[in-house]
C-alpha cells in the first residue's frame, strides 16, 4: 500500500467499478454464466480500497478522548483530476445583488472587481463523511453482488444486471466523493438513471416499466430543485466548489464548504436567499430519499429485482439526500427555518409511512414503507442542526444500511423460494423450512424495531436524544442553552433594514417555526413512529415465519428424498434439509451467506460504535460539521437512560400488539385491521397520494399532452398537408389539359411557338 497515495486510492474507488461495468458490457455475452466476475471483482477491489481509505482517514482524525466534547480539527484531502470547464470573466453580477457582497464572494482580482470566472474542476475529496459513505456503498454493493449471483441465476438479463450494479456503485461513489456541486448534480442524475434502469430491469412487464417511469419523473422534480439550488449557489457564492481553491493570482477563493468560509462566522447567507437555497436542497433530498411529498415512487420501485431494491432503495441511493443535507450543514445552519422544515418533513413522513406500512400485505411493500419511515427519522435528526443530530443521522444511516439490506435480501430469499409469491397471506410458518433466512430476518427485524442491544436501538436512541434536546433545551446542559441564546452565526438578511439584525430580533417567516414547541411535537411523533415501526416489522415477521407452515404451489422446494434437481439449481443442504419431514426451501449459499454476513453488523455495530463514540468523533472531523454553528452544539456523549426507556417501551408495545394480532396460529390473516375501520382504507390507499397526484398533476398533463397531440396532428400536420396539397391541387387543374388527344397537344405547342415568334418580330421591328 505504500506506493499508493491516498489520492490514487481515492480515484480507484469509483474507477474500479466503472471498469468492471465497461468490461461487463463488452464481455457479458461471451462470459455467459460468469458475467458477474468483472463487476464483482471491481466492486470487491473498491471495497478493499474504501476500507483502506477509512483506516487512513481515521488515523488522520486521531482517537477519541473519552466522553468529552472537544473541538476537532477538520480533516480533508482534495484530489483534483482535471479542469472540466473554465471560462474567465464569465459573469458580472449586477451591483447590489448578494453576489457582490464582499463577505461572501471571492473576487477575481485579476480581471477587476466583481467579475466571476466559471470553472468546474473534477475534484474528489476524502474526509470522514466521504470515507464512511464509500465504505457503506462498496461493502453493501459487494454483498448485493454476491447475493445476485444466486438470485439472478438463469435470468436472461444476467450480464446487464451486473453492469448496472457496477455502474451504480461508480455513480454513487462519485456522488459522495465529488467536491463540486455541479459534479454532485451530474452524479445525482446518474444514480437516478441507474435506478430507473434497475427498477425497469424486467421492462417487458408493464408494471415495472411504469414504476421505473414514475420513479424517474418524481426524481426529476427533485432534480429540478437541485438545479435551481446550484444556480442560486453560483450566484450567491460565486463558485460551486466545496473546497478552497487558489486562483492564478495566488488569491484564495473560498469554496462554499471550504475551510476559509467555514471559519468565517458570517460566511453563509441567511434570509430569503439562503432559505431558498436550503429549501431547494431539501426538495432535491426529498426526491431522492423519498420523503413527503415525493415519496410515491419508492413503493412502486419494488417491481425491480430484490437485490436492486436492497442496494438502491435501502442502503445507498436513498441516502444521497441525507448525504447532501449533511454536507450542506453550514448552509442550513444559517437558516433555522429551513432546518426546522427538514425535521418537520422527516418526522411527518416517518409517521405517515409507518401508518401505511401497518396494513400492507406485500412483504417488500412493508419494507419499502419502512425505508421511507426510517429515512424520515434521519431527516428529523438532521433538522435539529446539532452535531448530535448530524452524527446520529449518519449513524442511523449506517445501521439502517446493514439491517435494511439484510431485510430486503431476506425478503428476496423468501420470494425466491416461494416462486415469486411475496404476499404474506399466502405463506406462513417458514421458519421451519428456511431456518437461516428466518434467523437472519429476525435479527434484522429486531434491529429495525429498536430492540436492545441490536444496532437500530442505539441509532434510534441518538435520534430521539437529538430531538429531545431541541424540544427541552434546559434538560441538556449549558451548551445548548448557550448556543440558543448566543448563536455563533448572525442572520444576514439582504433586505435593507436588516443590516443590524441580531439573533435577538424576532424571527420572521419560516424561522418562526424553530421553537421548542415544534420540537416537542416532533419528538412525540417520532416516539409514536417507533412504536408503529416495531408493530409492522414484527407483524411481517410473525405472518411470514410463524404459525402453520403454508407454502404456495410453484415454490422451489427440494426435499431429503425425491430431489427436484432442477429447482432453480439449488443445493440441498443435508443438515438443514428435513425438519420433521418438511422439504427445505432454503436458498443457495450465494444467497444465504450475505444474509449471515449482514446479520453480524446488524447485531453488533450499534453497540460497538456507540460505546466507543468512535463514529461521532470520526464524523465530527468532517469540514462541514466543523462549522462553528454546528460544532458549538457539541454535547458530551452520554447514554440517555430515560429516552432509552421510552424508546424500548414504545417498541415493546408495538411488538406485543403485533404478537396479539399475528403470532402463531393467527398469522394468516387480517386481525387488527378490522379494528381500524375506515382508517384501514385510508392507510391501504397510501393516504390517496397517488390518486391526488393523478388528479392534480398527471391527468391535467395528460390532457395537455392530448391537446398538444391533437394540435400537432390536426393543426400542424393539417397545415403541412394543406401546403403539400397545393401543388397537388394545382397539378390536378393542369392535369385536365392532358386529354390524350394528339392534336390538342400540337395546338398548344404551335401557339407557344407562335407567341415566341410574334414576340421576336415585335422586338425586331424597326
Amino acid at each position: 500500500m505504500q506506493e499508493f497515495s491516498p489520492s490514487t486510492l481515492l480515484v480507484l474507488v469509483p474507477l474500479l467499478p466503472l471498469v468492471g461495468a465497461i468490461l461487463t458490457v463488452l464481455l457479458g455475452r461471451t462470459l455467459g454464466a460468469k458475467a458477474h466476475l468483472p463487476a464483482m471483482a471491481g466492486i470487491a477491489a473498491a471495497a478493499v480500497v474504501a476500507i483502506a481509505l477509512l483506516v487512513v482517514t481515521a488515523r488522520d482524525v486521531g482517537p477519541a478522548h473519552g466522553a468529552h466534547a472537544e473541538a476537532v480539527r477538520p480533516v480533508e484531502m482534495i484530489s483534483t483530476l482535471w479542469n472540466w470547464a473554465s471560462f474567465d470573466a464569465a459573469y458580472t453580477p449586477p451591483a447590489g445583488s448578494p453576489a457582490t457582497d464582499a463577505r461572501l464572494t471571492p473576487h477575481d482580482l485579476g480581471a477587476g472587481k466583481d467579475v466571476r470566472s466559471f470553472s468546474i474542476p473534477v475534484a474528489l475529496r476524502l474526509d470522514p463523511l466521504t470515507a464512511t459513505m464509500l465504505t457503506i456503498i462498496t461493502c453493501v454493493g459487494l454483498l448485493v453482488a454476491i447475493y445476485s449471483v444466486g438470485y439472478m441465476h438463469n435470468d436472461p438479463g444476467y450480464p446487464r444486471f451486473f453492469a448496472l450494479v457496477a455502474m451504480f456503485v461508480f455513480s454513487m461513489s462519485m456522488l459522495v466523493a465529488a467536491s463540486n456541486f455541479l459534479l454532485v448534480y451530474v452524479f445525482w442524475e446518474a444514480v437516478g438513471a441507474c435506478s430507473y434502469l434497475l427498477i425497469g430491469f424486467w421492462f417487458t412487464k408493464p408494471e415495472a416499466a411504469r414504476a421505473a417511469k414514475k420513479a424517474f419523473l418524481v426524481n426529476r422534480v427533485g432534480d429540478f430543485g437541485l438545479a435551481i439550488a446550484v444556480f442560486l449557489l453560483w450566484m450567491t457564492y460565486g463558485t460551486l466548489d466545496f473546497h478552497d481553491t487558489i486562483s492564478s493570482n495566488g488569491v484564495i477563493m473560498p469554496g462554499i464548504l471550504g475551510q476559509t468560509r467555514l471559519a468565517d462566522a458570517a460566511g453563509y447567507a441567511g434570509g430569503a436567499v439562503g432559505t431558498a437555497i436550503c429549501l431547494l436542497l431539501l426538495l432535491a433530498a426529498c426526491g431522492k430519499s423519498a420523503q413527503l411529498p415525493l415519496h410515491v415512487w419508492l413503493p412502486d420501485a419494488m417491481e425491480g429485482p430484490t437485490p436492486a431494491s436492497a442496494l438502491i432503495h435501502a442502503a445507498t441511493m436513498v441516502t444521497a439526500g441525507i448525504y447532501l443535507i449533511t454536507r450542506s450543514a453550514p448552509l442550513f445552519s444559517a437558516c433555522p427555518g429551513a432546518l426546522t422544515m427538514v425535521s418537520i418533513v422527516g418526522a411527518t413522513t416517518a409517521l405517515i409511512a409507518a401508518l401505511i406500512g401497518t396494513v400492507q400485505n406485500d412483504l417488500k411493500r412493508v419494507l419499502a414503507y419502512s425505508t421511507i419511515s426510517q429515512l424520515g427519522y434521519m431527516f428529523a435528526s438532521l433538522g435539529t442542526g446539532t452535531l448530535l443530530g448530524f452524527t446520529a443521522a449518519i449513524f442511523h444511516l449506517l445501521t439502517h444500511a446493514c439491517f435494511k439490506a439484510l431485510l430486503f435480501l431476506g425478503a428476496g430469499s423468501v420470494m425466491h423460494a416461494m416462486g415469486g409469491v411475496i404476499d404474506m397471506r399466502r405463506f406462513g410458518g417458514l421458519r421451519r423450512v428456511m431456518p437461516i433466512t428466518a434467523a437472519t430476518f429476525f435479527v434484522g427485524a429486531a434491529a429495525l424495531a429498536g430492540v436492545a442491544p441490536f444496532a437500530g436501538f442505539f441509532s434510534k436512541d441518538e435520534i430521539l436524544a437529538a430531538l429531545h434536546s431541541k424540544g427541552w433545551p434546559s434538560a441538556h446542559g449549558d451548551h445548548h442553552a448557550a448556543a440558543a441564546a448566543d448563536g455563533p452565526f448572525q442572520l444576514i438578511a439582504f433586505s435593507p433594514d436588516a443590516a443590524h439584525a441580531t439573533v435577538t430580533a424576532p424571527a420572521v417567516g419560516l424561522d418562526a417555526l424553530d421553537r421548542p414547541e415544534t420540537w416537542q411535537i416532533l419528538f412525540w411523533m417520532s416516539l409514536v413512529t417507533a412504536g408503529l415501526t416495531a408493530f409492522y416489522t414484527f407483524r411481517a415477521v410473525f405472518m411470514t415465519f410463524t404459525g402453520p407452515t403454508r407454502v404456495p404451489e410453484g415454490a422451489h422446494g427440494h426435499g431429503g428424498h425425491g430431489d427436484h434437481g432442477d429447482g432453480g439449481g439449488h443445493d440441498s443442504h443435508g443438515s438443514h434439509g428435513s425438519h420433521g419431514g418438511h422439504e427445505s426451501y432454503e436458498s443457495p449459499p450465494a444467497m444465504t451467506w450475505p444474509l449471515m454476513i449482514l446479520a453480524i453488523p446488524s447485531a453488533l455495530v450499534g453497540w460497538l460504535l456507540f460505546s466507543t463514540n468512535w463514529l461521532a468523533h470520526f464524523l465530527s472531523a468532517t469540514p462541514s460539521l466543523t462549522a462553528p454553528a454546528v460544532a458549538a452544539t457539541a454535547t458530551p456523549h452520554v447514554f440517555h437512560m430515560n429516552l432509552a426507556i421510552q424508546g424500548t417501551l414504545a417498541a415493546a408495545i408495538g411488538i406485543v400488539v403485533a404478537a396479539i394480532g399475528h403470532l402463531g396460529r393467527r398469522s394468516d390473516g387480517p386481525q387488527l385491521e378490522r379494528f381500524l375501520g375506515p382508517l384501514q382504507t385510508l392507510f391501504a390507499n397510501k393516504f390517496y397520494f397517488d390518486q391526488i397526484y393523478s388528479a392534480l398533476i398527471v391527468k391535467p398533463l395528460e390532457g395537455l399532452a392530448l391537446v398538444a397531440a391533437l394540435f400537432d396532428r390536426h393543426v400542424i400536420d393539417g397545415t403541412v398537408d394543406a401546403i403539400a396539397g397545393i401543388p397537388v391541387a394545382l397539378g390536378s387543374i393542369v392535369r385536365r389539359s392532358q386529354s390524350g388527344l394528339l392534336q390538342r397537344y400540337a395546338l398548344v405547342g404551335v401557339m407557344g411557338v407562335l407567341a415566341i415568334v410574334v414576340l421576336l418580330t415585335w422586338q425586331l421591328r424597326g
Binding site: R735, R736, Q738, S739, G740, L741, L742, Q743
Partner: protein
C-alpha cells in the same frame, strides 16, 4: 434577271410558301382523319420546298435545290413508314381517327367523345347490285342513282 427583280420574285415565292405552310399547319391541327393529316404535313413540306428553292434562286446557289431533293427523299420514306403505322392503328381501333387514341390522358380526365356530331347528311348508301344475267332487275324509284359521297 437582275438583282432588283429577283427580290420581288423571292418575296412572292416566299409568300406562296408561307401560305402553303400555314394551310398545312391548320390542316394538321384540325383534321382528325389520319390520312388528311398526313396530306397536310406533306403540304407543309411543299411550302418549305418552295421557300428553299426561292432562296436558292435568289442567292444563285445549289444549296436549296439539294436540300429540297433530300426533303423529297425523306418525305417518301416517312410516308411509307407512317402509312404502315396508320394501318396498324386502323387495325387496332377500326378507325382512321386521331382522337381514337386517348389512353395517354391523365387519370382524372374523361374520354373525349364527340357530342355534337353534325347530322348525317348522307342517306345510307345502297350500292347497286348487278342482276344475274338474263334477269330484269327490279326498279326502285327511291333508290338514289348517284352516290354523292365516296
Amino acid at each position: 434577271m437582275n438583282t432588283m427583280q429577283s427580290l420581288p420574285l423571292l418575296q412572292n415565292a416566299l409568300t406562296v410558301g408561307a401560305i402553303l405552310f400555314s394551310l398545312g399547319l391548320v390542316g394538321i391541327l384540325t383534321r382528325r382523319n389520319l390520312i388528311v393529316m398526313f396530306l397536310a404535313a406533306e403540304m407543309m413540306l411543299q411550302g418549305i420546298s418552295v421557300s428553299l428553292v426561292a432562296w436558292s434562286r435568289y442567292h444563285g446557289d445549289w444549296g436549296g435545290h439539294v436540300l429540297v431533293i433530300f426533303v423529297l427523299t425523306v418525305a417518301a420514306c416517312e410516308a411509307a413508314v407512317a402509312l404502315v403505322f396508320v394501318l396498324q392503328a386502323f387495325s387496332r381501333t377500326g378507325r382512321l381517327d386521331a382522337a381514337a387514341w386517348q389512353s395517354l390522358r391523365e387519370a382524372n380526365v374523361g374520354r373525349t367523345i364527340d357530342h355534337e356530331l353534325p347530322a348525317i347528311d348522307t342517306v345510307p348508301l345502297r350500292f347497286p347490285t348487278l342482276a344475274p344475267a338474263g334477269v330484269l332487275p327490279p326498279a326502285d324509284e327511291n333508290e338514289p342513282l348517284q352516290r354523292e359521297h365516296v
